[in-house]
């Protein structure tokens, strides 16, 4: 009953869903279900939550103190509709940060759920392991690592500012696509403070074993950190050969 498309060999040239065949003129059921499972993975990722136990255990191995903070978005529904609230710390989190704000330091590390906690659960510990070792070997002082929920990228601004850090790195779950629901993004901001916008940041996207693997990802982040601290800037003025995918920013 189904018609196959004789140009199936063209599939070798693209990951696009070509030569799917048809039932009547509609998509055959096997391809329909393949699409549905990809969308299901993406939807599940949006509503996934941070696995605190695994993350706390993994991050403590780096020997750094760990703080847990929350944005002003109270739940996922509010988070999705009010990106402004996801960029602000709630009162309790500000208190925690102020209690832990010590002497000025070089780098603040933030691990945030963003639009895919699943990505963070899968990859954040492995990236941080490599990255913190490199930062410490280079002699940089680190603020406590912060685990942030219902967080947008810009939550790192008030957070790192409260911890008196010269630079912030936030590892955050990216907007899930059909091809990958577990992509981690890293954003680097020099002189973090409330009110900054995207042109002040550098981004490294698609961090996952099938995309940009942990080691090269950590190296690229480290390279940008070194350059940003040396030149005293980040964002559009700091050229980077990584792919900037702003549209994926949570």
């Amino acid at each position: 009953m189904n018609k196959h498309d004789p140009w199936e060999p063209l599939k070798q040239f693209t990951a696009a869903r070509i030569a799917m065949g048809r039932a009547g003129s509609s998509i055959p059921v096997s391809n329909l279900l393949q699409f549905n499972v990809a969308h299901a993975h993406a939807r599940d990722a949006v509503y996934s939550v941070l696995d605190r136990e695994v993350l706390v255990e993994g991050l403590e191995q780096s020997g750094l103190p760990l703080l847990q903070v929350h944005s002003q978005a109270r739940n996922r529904q509010e988070y999705l509709q009010r990106p402004d609230l996801g960029r602000l710390l709630d009162e309790r989190s500000l208190e925690i940060l102020n209690q832990h704000a010590g002497t000025p330091c070089d780098v603040s590390l933030v691990v945030a759920d963003g639009l895919s906690a699943r990505a963070v659960n899968a990859h954040a510990v492995a990236v941080l392991e490599v990255l913190t070792a490199m930062l410490q070997a280079a002699g940089h002082t680190l603020a406590p690592v912060c685990l942030a929920t219902q967080a947008r990228v810009a939550l790192a601004d008030p957070l790192a500012h409260a911890l008196h850090a010269r630079l912030s790195i936030i590892l955050i779950g990216e907007r899930p696509g059909l091809s990958a629901a577990d992509s981690l993004g890293a954003y680097i901001t020099y002189a973090p403070r409330p009110g900054l916008t995207d042109e002040s940041r550098n981004c490294i996207s698609n961090i996952r074993p099938q995309g940009l693997p942990y080691q090269p990802a950590a190296h690229r982040i480290f390279y940008l950190v070194q350059e940003a601290l040396r030149r005293g800037l980040s964002g559009v003025g700091l050229k980077d050969n990584s792919l900037n995918q702003d549209s994926l920013e949570p």
Partner: protein, 458 residues
């Protein structure tokens, strides 16, 4: 000037016209995010009741964005045609809604009216209309445009073939184009969103599209959707530019954030025209819009996102475009939260655009963080097919692997054509027949063309 309305002894007051319009708008997340939405169901209806009593003439006296500060307001007011307006100038917004639905008001009447109405009038009346009203009135309008084929004729339904690839790989793009052509897609345009915007890069893609079109004598037009300053540079070096693309917004400040102005659009319109590449007509611009762009650029000035969107159509219609595409669900749930809001916004945009005389198409789409899925898109596709929408997107399996969102597939277009008896643009339909891709009834047959097109890639 302040407006007020009382329901059961409770009086609602609206500080000015833009506040009245915003409060009267059916609920959507973007207006709530901007702090402009009504705070209760009753307040929204109170605003709609006040709006219904407002004379249409008010919109010629009170601007939602100041005339002195905004070149789009100046364009709207300065190009308003008083003679065309005279047939409805005595009406209130509410009476105009009933007038639009009257049996005597047909496509000819509406076509004669289009330069007599402003985008704000269209936006205002849409806020008093249900989805069926938006469909019924839009269906009356026939907006036909031409370049290498004829788009928008009654009973026709076109697609933009969108063969994007994450690294702009030539063979990857060609594979998606061939897939689309063999599914009868691409009569509105074959249009690539490039992964990179450098002129050399865009030129390479333009040449790829042009050689394929020439080799198979396809009666359609191509476009690489880069910034119009890149297109201008390429036109100066004699690149094969068919259509000039640009995203446009409804406030001058939004367009500044896009890096454009009316004078730059004038320049691009002239330059593209100088190439004289159209064969059956000269509609040479391709615009994209979408509710929420002004808020996203922090340039809405207190105007609700649907009214901002309608104002973008004032920019578009100055340049007699071949295609206007409202990219309705791409922007995310902070502007349009779910399937219900996306569907409503698409029907509003299609209605307002058609009323203002534009060849409206819709990118029926959503992102994975929106509360929407393929079923919502099927609903919207069916509604837009009924409403007489000019074109939609055609993407392999609905999945754009470069822009990471879901739109309509080649199969979706075949579904709606078959369901409603709609056919491709006439010139393209003949080509599909001659190539052995489709038969005289529009059914895919895939005879001779398959091998020829497949071997193009080698």
């Amino acid at each position: 000037m302040a407006y007020r309305h009382t329901i059961d002894q409770k009086t609602y007051q609206f500080a000015d016209l833009k506040e009245l319009l915003a409060r009267a708008t059916p609920l959507r997340s973007g207006d709530a995010l901007a702090g402009l939405a009504a705070t209760s169901y009753e307040e929204r209806v109170a605003a709609q009741m006040a709006l219904a009593e407002l004379p249409l003439k008010t919109f010629l006296q009170e601007a939602v964005v100041p005339y002195e500060e905004d070149e789009i307001t100046r364009l709207i007011i300065d190009s308003h045609n008083t003679a065309a307006f005279s047939s409805v100038s005595h009406l209130t917004v509410g009476d105009w809604r009933d007038w639009l639905l009257a049996d005597e008001v047909d496509g000819t009447v509406l076509s004669n009216l289009k330069w007599g109405i402003t985008p704000e009038m269209a936006a205002a009346v849409s806020k008093l209309m249900r989805n069926q009203d938006l469909i019924a009135v839009a269906k009356k309008c026939e907006v036909v445009t031409r370049f290498r084929n004829t788009i928008g004729l009654r009973g026709r339904f076109s697609t933009r073939l969108q063969p994007n690839h994450p690294t702009d790989d030539a063979k990857g793009i060609a594979a998606s184009i061939i897939d689309g052509l063999l599914y009868g897609s691409g009569d509105a345009v074959i249009g690539i969103n490039p992964a990179g915007d450098s002129p050399a890069h865009v030129l390479h893609l333009l040449q790829l599209l042009d050689s394929l079109r020439e080799q198979f004598s396809i009666p359609t037009q191509s476009c690489v959707l880069c910034h119009l300053t890149t297109t201008l540079e390429l036109i100066r070096s004699h690149a094969p530019v068919d259509l000039c693309f640009q995203s446009v917004g409804g406030t001058a400040q939004t367009n500044r954030s896009f890096g454009i102005s009316l004078s730059l659009l004038d320049e691009a319109w002239d330059a593209t025209g100088s190439l004289r590449r159209g064969t059956v007509g000269d509609n040479r611009m391709y615009f994209e819009t979408g509710q929420g762009s002004a808020l996203s650029a922090n340039a809405h000035g207190g105007v609700d996102q649907q009214t901002c969107e309608a104002r973008a159509y004032a920019v578009a219609r100055k340049y007699e475009p071949l295609l206007v595409n409202t990219v309705v669900g791409f922007i995310g749930p902070e502007y349009l939260y779910d399937g219900k809001q996306i569907i409503r916004a698409a029907l509003e945009d299609h209605f307002c655009g058609k009323l203002l005389g534009l060849p409206m198409g819709v990118d029926i789409c959503y992102t994975n963080h929106a509360e929407a899925d393929q079923d919502d898109m099927d609903n919207l596709l069916t509604l837009l097919g009924v409403a007489g929408c000019n074109f939609i997107m055609g993407i392999p399996g609905s999945d754009d692997i470069m822009l990471n969102y879901q739109s309509t597939s080649f199969h979706d277009a075949l579904y709606i054509r078959k369901l409603l008896g709609l056919r491709p643009a006439p010139e393209f339909e003949q080509w599909l027949l001659a190539q052995g891709i489709a038969d005289g009834t529009g059914k895919l047959v895939h005879t001779a063309a398959v091998n020829r097109l497949m071997h193009h890639i080698d």
